[in-house]
Symmetry: C2
Subunit: 146 residues, 2 copies
DNA sequence: GATACAGTCTACAGCGACTGTAGAGGCAAG
DNA sequence: CTTGCCTCTACAGTCGCTGTAGACTGTATC
């Protein structure tokens, strides 16, 4: 197999060129070979590794978690429970976030349903945002962006 | 009512001092009065406004949306439908995000259930992250952080 | 060979929504 | 008057990238 440039790797793994260079800079992809003129050269292994990273990102894993997973991947004889632990932790985070969002959804729906039109001055949606008191999702922890 | 310092406003509205200054810098809170020595001075109105911002943030509204809402709040005679539209949009985003996360939850659960222990080399979780093919959440759009 | 154009290179700034730091000055209680 | 917290400004850092500028490289067409 002959090596490919960063652009080919990019379309093969569906990760942007700039992102690949970024991943290299944070040590997620090793330092690739270079052509005589200094262009990065990659092989099939890199496509796999980068696709792995992409899918893990799509599953919401943090960069740190992904680094750990890649580290484990290179030691296939270790016990699999470390991997399991990372995945479990990720699932727990997803479920926590789901619960938050479900509460949010209920609250937004309630706000909107109570709105019967009219002027902003008497708007129930505004009132709902103002009166945090009656609200089921009270004492939120800081909500991360959607 | 006598004015309060930023620290009092902070505890009254449950928004950090630094965050209040940040909100001021982006034009979310007007420029407050200052004491002779240059300390910011706030009144009850500011507590309300800041609490409104906090709750809107907790509901996941973007800063831009909040700016719009505050703008509307100061014109109580306008039609309420503008407020409704913003809330509807927010609800739609929450629901979209919920759907993504539910798909994620299913996939993570499936991965973890298939894991029967053993070595990393044969780990089904790893395999699942590698094989994006069989996965129901294929062609994700970029997932925002949890 | 000349030219055009896409691809690649480095280095750095910017995004959102804050948080943290440094170093200086202000204010009230004991 | 000292102690100890509060406030001030200004700027760097967070995360996971994305965008920009300006220069070089590689390939296809004439």
């Amino acid at each position: 197999m002959k090596p490919m440039t960063i652009g080919r790797l990019s379309s093969a793994a569906k990760v942007k060129v700039t992102t690949i260079r970024y991943y290299e800079s944070i040590g997620l992809m090793g330092t690739p070979d270079r052509s005589a003129s200094g262009q990065r050269l990659y092989g099939g292994v890199d496509v796999e590794r980068l696709s792995f990273v992409r899918h893990a990102r799509e599953l919401g894993f943090s960069m740190d978690a992904i680094k750990d997973l890649i580290g484990l991947q290179t030691e296939p004889d270790q016990d699999c429970s470390a991997v399991d632990t990372i995945a479990q932790k990720q699932l727990a985070e997803v479920q926590k976030r789901l619960a938050q969002l479900e509460a949010l959804e209920r609250e937004l729906k309630r706000m909107i349903e109570n709105c019967r039109g009219g002027k902003v001055g008497g708007c129930q949606v505004m009132a709902a945002i103002n009166d945090h008191s009656e609200c089921e999702t009270d004492k939120h922890e800081r909500l991360k962006p959607l």
